[in-house]
């Protein structure tokens, strides 16, 4: 793998963050382990478990009980072309691809 592909993947992750942010979702867990490189060499920002709609930004500091689950964010993220993977991956893929075999 070329180094520039790592660089591009980080850049794609950053762009995904921007798309989500512009659609009203803050990822809140940017880290090397949360950007994966697909077979098409495109970087994908994953693990949206800590993400939160900007409209629900709490007045009080972050607490575990205030984390909004991904299914609440899903419609927003799909409209922003941001596909969540990992814990809510099945749900996201099902919605995006109606012909998914387990759908």
């Amino acid at each position: 793998m070329r180094f520039q592909q790592h660089y591009d993947a980080d850049f794609h992750g950053f762009l995904a963050h921007m798309d989500a942010y512009n659609a009203g979702v803050l990822h809140r867990d940017i880290s090397p382990g949360n950007i994966i490189i697909g077979p098409d060499h495109v970087g994908r920002l994953i693990d949206w478990d800590s993400s939160k709609p900007l409209s629900l930004q709490p007045e009080t500091p972050r607490r575990a009980t205030q984390v909004v689950r991904t299914h609440i964010l899903l419609p927003i993220m799909i409209s922003a072309n941001v596909i969540p993977i990992r814990s809510s991956g099945y749900l996201a893929i099902h919605v995006c691809q109606p012909n998914w075999p387990h759908g």
Binding site: F3, H6, Y7, G13, F14, R28, I30, P32, I35, P61
Partner: protein, 213 residues
């Protein structure tokens, strides 16, 4: 995680924290997969930035000592990118202008806009506002990619292996916080002092200093 969040876990997590985290992500990937001019400096930097706290990250951004001394051979654009990103995020940890500074700058602005743009207040506000959106960082990302001469032709990503020597005998400073000084008085020392009061180094002869960790 941004330095700001590391230092004050109670504060709200905003998009600037995510932007700063993107910088650390790119830095981590680069240190892990690209040669650098001083690989022996990398483990301590990784420990300090990714395992250290607020001060380590804030000082890294503001001081940029590592970035001044270390380069990425064949990838000059990366060095420029990191330096500019560090400068961009450092403003979050710099002293904000005081009300007095702002009043003075405001008076200057009413007199000359051109001169106002040279004031520290204007520069601070401009740098802070560059973090309000993703645009300024995207510009820097794209600028680093634009000049292909700044990237090596084959450009392999090579997983770096950092040598870490186990510390067998940790050196400590005498004034270290984890050092305790014991002064033991020798039993026979007092008699000799009285008999020979003008001896040189009498204290050293009469007391033994012992450092314990």
């Amino acid at each position: 995680m941004s330095a700001s969040l590391t230092g004050r876990m109670g504060r709200l997590h905003d998009h600037k924290d995510d932007l700063e985290s993107s910088f650390y992500t790119l830095l981590w990937v680069t240190l892990m997969y690209s040669d650098c001019s001083k690989p022996e400096k990398v483990p301590s930097l990784l420990r300090s930035i990714f395992e250290g706290g607020f001060l380590a990250k804030a000082d890294f951004l503001k001081g940029r000592t590592f970035l001044d001394r270390v380069s990425f051979p064949g990838r000059g654009a990366l060095h420029t990118l990191f330096d500019e990103l560090a400068q961009m995020f450092a403003v979050r940890y710099e002293q904000a202008p005081t009300k007095q500074d702002r009043d003075r700058a405001s008076r200057i602005n009413s007199y000359s806009t051109e001169y106002y743009e040279t004031t520290s207040v204007y520069k601070y506000d401009k740098r802070m506002s560059s973090l309000n959106t993703h645009a300024a960082i995207i510009d820097l990302f794209e600028a680093a990619l634009r000049d292909r001469s700044q990237w090596p032709p084959n450009d392999p990503a090579v997983k770096q292996r950092f040598h870490h020597d186990p510390v067998l005998h940790e050196l400590v400073t005498k004034s270290g916080w984890n050092t305790t000084l014991f002064v033991e008085q020798l039993e026979s020392g007092d008699d000799e002092m009285e008999a020979q009061p003008n001896r040189e180094n009498e204290v050293d002869d009469c007391h033994s200093l012992r450092w314990e960790l």
